[in-house]
């Protein structure tokens, strides 16, 4: 017969759960509020969500404090794993969400924001991501991943136009396939080691000296396929441009950051130990992935006619760039990943927000799509400040110093250099040069061409409201003055990454 289990409350470390529980509570509260009085304005929900996100952020900071003191914390039967990676990535996730959620306060009305469910789902999604990064248990990763993904599919679809449905369906279908790959990969690892905890897997494999390398490779393959999908590595990237185009610009910006950092963390946890144990194959494959993703996505971005699609491809390319960190696998490179992503958050969210404020409901004849390049022609005449800010984001994305992303690129390439990946460093550098072209293209349109005749003059701030402007302002300030923040950020990140053993 089974013995009753006695568990002391202290040993559970319940506080490890608090950051994830806060958004869940928030979501439930929003639903309950809606239950009691429907038809409340979206501002209420935006502020409620923001409030909970702030609390969430606070909770994460608290666990960060705990981590700084005591090191890695395991909780709830060792399912929860609060280490540096978890904390840093959660900070990015929640931080980016805090920047994202006020974007709902547009001056024009959009379908999704009329639902309180939108905000509830959003908060659920955040907690899903948080679970995903704060564990090394493949089951919890899977469940967290699906929670957030399912919510995300819905959020995309709720934009409620043909393209967003198409996007959601595509994303969903491919996501289902990726989920299949994930479970298969997990199965292989389980078959190999009898465990679904990454630490455990690592130690068992190490104990066996990777005798069953073939099995390991199959497992890695499926994991790669699954996370390749999430991280949009070529050739698993095909969803990205379409989904970005179909989703609202703000959502696209969000998607380019938050789901990816969560996936990066899991990928880091899984692949890092493999690379360090000398699985050369993985190193080669990752190398190929990194190079192909960076380069191919850049090349495709060159030929885009729509700014949003261009940014989508550019996000793919950036993901490939950052993937190099996992390949290199040094503390420096892993810190570079976080630094890069933190800076990328500001810049990319900023640039997508710029698209968001210029979103029209009806596309004029001269525009072939929502954000085609010629929409921005001559923008400097009609909206000089907006054009300058947009140009600023583009320059930052291109890696022009001293704007935010330059420091990320710098540190990333430096980590490649000190990791011994000379050729990779060169490829990364040259790819930045290719990327320069399409970012410049937008600048050229904005600053050097004449406006299309008959274009609506107010198009660029069509959708702007105070809160949107604030967010963009924040992003711009963050982008410009990144050089001040780099040092504290870097020290903070390096300490956390190092203390987590990565």
């Amino acid at each position: 017969m089974l013995e009753p289990v006695n568990v002391s409350l202290e040993s559970l470390n319940l506080m490890t759960l608090s950051p994830m529980l806060i958004p869940i509570i928030g979501a439930l509260m929003i639903i309950v509020v809606d239950l009691f009085k429907s038809g409340l304005d979206k501002t209420l929900y935006v502020m409620l969500s923001l409030l909970f996100l702030v609390m969430d952020f606070g909770a994460i900071l608290e666990s960060a404090g705990a981590f700084a003191q005591n090191g890695t914390i395991m909780g709830i039967f060792d399912v929860m794993l609060i280490d540096g990676l978890a904390i840093l990535s959660q900070l990015i996730i929640v931080g980016a969400s805090m920047l994202f959620i006020p974007l709902a306060l547009t001056s024009k009305r959009f379908h999704e924001f009329s639902y309180p469910e939108f905000f509830a789902l959003f908060l659920f999604m955040i907690s899903g991501f948080q679970f995903m990064v704060a564990t090394d248990n493949l089951i919890l990763v899977f469940v967290g991943l699906e929670t957030s993904s399912l919510a995300l599919y819905t959020l995309i679809a709720m934009h409620n136009r043909d393209k967003s449905f198409e996007a959601a369906v595509k994303y969903f279908t491919m996501g289902a396939l990726a989920a299949g790959f994930y479970s298969f990969g997990a199965m292989v690892f389980y078959a190999l080691t009898g465990s679904v905890e990454i630490n455990q897997i690592a130690s068992v494999l190490a104990a066996n000296k990777y005798a069953d390398i073939g099995y390991v490779l199959i497992g890695v393959t499926f994991m790669l396929a699954s996370f390749g999908f999430k991280l949009s590595l070529v050739p698993f990237h095909t969803w990205a441009p379409d989904i970005y185009e179909g989703a609202s610009a703000s959502m696209a910006g969000f998607m380019s950051i938050v789901p990816k950092i969560a996936a990066f963390i899991v990928a880091m946890r899984i692949f890092e130990f493999l690379i360090h144990s000398g699985v050369v194959w993985l190193e080669v494959i990752l190398y190929i992935f990194v190079v192909v993703t960076m380069t191919a996505a850049n090349i495709w971005a060159l030929v885009q006619t729509d700014v949003k699609r261009m940014l989508a491809y550019s996000s793919i390319s950036h993901a490939g760039f950052v993937m190099a960190a996992i390949l290199i696998g040094t503390t420096q490179s892993n810190s570079a990943l976080f630094l890069y992503w933190a800076l990328f958050t500001f810049t990319n969210l900023g640039s997508f927000s710029m698209l968001w404020i210029s979103r029209q409901k009806h596309i004029p004849a001269h525009q072939s799509s929502d954000h085609s390049y010629n929409k921005f022609a001559g923008m400097v005449r009609t909206a000089p400040v907006a054009a300058s800010i947009m140009a600023l984001f583009m320059l930052s994305l291109a890696g022009i110093p001293p704007f935010a992303l330059f420091w990320g690129k710098l540190y990333m390439i430096a980590s490649a250099v000190s990791g011994g990946y000379t050729v990779l460093a060169l490829i990364m550098a040259l790819n930045s040069a290719i990327a320069g072209y399409y970012y410049l293209k937008l600048i050229v349109y904005m600053f050097m061409l004449d406006p299309v005749k008959g274009a609506d003059e107010h198009v660029f701030t069509n959708n702007a409201s105070l809160s949107l402007r604030t967010i963009i302002g924040l992003a711009a300030v963050g982008t410009i003055f990144a050089f001040i923040a780099v040092n504290p950020l870097l020290e903070f990140i390096t300490a956390f990454v190092y203390n987590s053993g990565y």
Partner: protein, 635 residues
């Protein structure tokens, strides 16, 4: 004395700047008079300096200020007035003062009057820098300065295509030579560590002959350009496009002799390398003959005189090359006087004939232009080297030098050339001043030039006549710095035979010229002869340059631009960019927008990874066997 040095040096500059002030305004006589007066000041100062030197004073040496100083290199603006430079200063200031005054009349009707004087004085300044500098860099300043002014003055009538073309030709050709000069200067610097004449020459005594030879050769290349020696001679004839006073001053008396001056100045160097000197002498002799031959048939008054200048420069180089530096300098001085006179006379004729240059269209001008006739005839006599005019003393001396140094070939060439010189000089005189008044056919009414122009020319006339008298004074003066070799033919008999023979030969040549051209007639038979064609076409050298250097350069430039730069270098860069872009265009089809394709890509990616995994897995599993297999293959 320093004051006089500065006065001599800078008053032309002041004159130039003064005239430049009126550069854009219409003609003002002041712009001509003031520079002339300032030049006279310069002349007076030079004379004072000359007297100082003559009276046994030390060479005046000043260092005005630092120009360049870096590393070990130290170049000051330093000026020295010694026996050599004072000679040159005298020549320059005398001739240029006269030419200035003359030009006031000559350029009377030209709208660029003010500009002209500005350029002319600037030239004199550059020339003064050239001759007075105490180091090679300073020499180079003057060297390039005179080149610049020559460009400005040849191209003075810039609306004339031929003038601007000639100006550019002169400048570029000089530049080619200047490169040699520059390299020579570099050689001097890196081997002696200084560019000061005195220190460098002192250092050279210890250097290897080969290095010295290279120095000598490169410096001489510089001299060849300025002095228009073969093969860089074509510019001088073309330079006659400039106003005639310019030809008189620059292209006869002063600038073209700068090359000779350089060789004379660098005599310690050339003394150490006699084989280079011999080469210089040979080239000089060749050029003397070569230029004289071209002068025989030419139908352009100024070009004839220009070729004669070239020929005389050849004489000077013979002297300098054979180590008779003072003789070279002496001939330089004498030549300056009579050749300037000749040119100015030619200027008068041109003025009278409304810029007609073909002597076959003149004739009988002695009646209307008495003064000019006398002056030009006397100048020609001097040029031909008839006793007792200046040319006799200096030219005969060169012949003697060649004789004494036992270079008989050179001697005979020079002797023959002397005959040619006499012939073409009097051919010109005969054609212009004697015979029928052919100009009437063209409806020209010639008139004598302004009085003051003739008066201005008269000092030159006097000097051309009496310069020979100063031979011994001069010898004593310059040999204080130059090698003092007296050239005396030991046997008096030989001397007299030589001298009288030469005189007779020359007089015969003159007589023949008079006979042949007293009645000028076209001679179609002669014009058909091969040698005539060669001579009138200047040995086809300009043609050769145009066809085989200028045109290929132009075409090669176009090829470089249109083919290499645009189609290879630039196209490669653009090609890379275009390839990347085209790759994008082609492969974007991968993103067909069809969900099924997307799923297939995902599966394909996974399968691709799987096959790689299997290959690797198998390889890992059977690594030992593979190694054995490979080693069996001998890999």
């Amino acid at each position: 004395m320093e004051l006089y040095l500065y006065l001599a040096l800078f008053s032309p500059l002041a004159g130039s700047l003064f005239a430049a002030l009126f550069g854009a305004s219409p003609k003002t006589i002041v712009a001509g008079v003031v520079p002339s007066v300032l030049l006279f000041v310069s002349f007076v100062s030079s004379t004072i300096l000359l007297l100082h030197i003559l009276s046994g004073g030390d060479a005046v040496h000043v260092e005005m200020m630092t120009w360049m100083a870096t590393g070990n290199l130290y170049i000051p603006f330093g000026f020295v007035v010694d026996q050599v430079s004072v000679t040159m200063m005298m020549v320059v200031t005398i001739v240029s003062t006269i030419v200035h005054v003359y030009s006031i009349g000559y350029m009377d009707h030209d709208k660029g009057f003010n500009r002209f004087f500005s350029y002319l004085s600037a030239f004199v300044f550059s020339m003064m820098v050239l001759v007075m500098s105490d180091n090679f860099a300073g020499l180079f300043i003057g060297w390039e300065g005179v080149g610049l002014c020559s460009w400005l003055l040849i191209g003075f009538w810039y609306e004339k295509e031929s003038a601007t073309w000639a100006a550019n030709e002169a400048f570029i050709m000089n530049r080619i030579a200047d490169l040699g000069m520059l390299i020579g200067i570099f050689l001097v610097y890196w081997n002696t560590g200084t560019l000061q004449y005195d220190k460098a020459f002192a250092e050279m005594q210890h250097l290897d002959t080969a290095i010295l030879a290279w120095m000598g050769i490169f410096l001489f290349i510089g001299a060849m350009g300025k002095s228009a020696q073969f093969p860089l001679h074509t510019w001088l004839a073309d330079a006659m496009e400039g106003p005639t006073p310019v030809s008189a001053l620059i292209h006869a008396a002063t600038m073209v002799t700068a090359g000779v001056y350089l060789v004379v100045r660098a005599n310690p160097l050339y003394d150490l390398i006699p084989h280079v000197g011999l080469f210089i002498a040979s080239l000089g002799a060749f050029v003397a003959l070569f230029a004289a031959s071209m002068a025989l048939v030419n139908r352009d008054m100024k070009r004839i005189i220009a070729y004669s200048t070239l020929s005389q420069l050849g004489y000077m180089f013979v002297a300098a090359g054979l180590g008779a530096y003072w003789v070279a300098l002496f001939h330089l001085m004498a030549h300056a006087f009579f050749k300037a006179l000749l040119f100015l006379g030619a200027g008068n004729v041109m003025h009278a004939m409304h810029n007609e240059l073909d002597p076959f269209k003149m004739g009988g001008l002695r009646k209307v232009m008495k003064g000019t006739f006398i002056m030009m005839t006397l100048a020609s006599v001097a040029l031909a080297g008839i006793y007792p005019l200046a040319g006799f003393w200096s030219k005969d001396l060169i012949l003697e030098v060649a004789m004494i140094e036992h270079h008989y070939i050179i001697y005979s060439v020079l002797l023959f050339t002397a005959g040619l010189t006499a012939f073409y000089s009097f051919r010109l005189v005969a054609l212009v001043f004697h015979g029928e008044e052919r100009y009437k056919l063209f409806g020209v009414h010639p008139h004598e030039a302004y009085k003051f122009m003739l008066i201005a020319m008269s000092p030159l006339l006097i000097l051309a006549i009496i310069a020979g008298a100063f031979k011994m004074t001069y010898f004593e003066m310059v040999t204080q710095v130059l090698p003092a070799t007296e050239y005396h033919i030991h046997s008096a008999l030989t001397y007299w035979i030589m001298t009288i023979g030469t005189q007779l030969f020359v007089i015969l040549a003159i007589a023949y010229a008079y006979k042949k051209y007293q009645v000028a007639k076209e001679d179609p038979a002669m014009e058909k002869r091969l040698c005539y064609k060669i001579l009138i076409n200047q040995y086809y050298i300009p043609y050769f340059y145009e066809e085989y250097l200028v045109k290929p350069y132009r075409e090669l430039s176009t090829i470089f631009w249109k083919q290499v730069d645009m189609k290879i270098v630039d196209a490669t860069v653009d090609g890379i960019a275009k390839t990347i872009y085209a790759t994008g265009e082609k492969t974007r089809e991968m993103q067909s927008g069809n969900l099924s394709t997307m799923l297939k890509w995902m599966v394909a990616g996974t399968v691709g990874l799987l096959s790689l995994a299997v290959v690797f897995g198998l390889a890992a599993r059977y690594s030992d066997e593979i190694k054995v297999f490979l080693s069996g293959l001998g890999v």
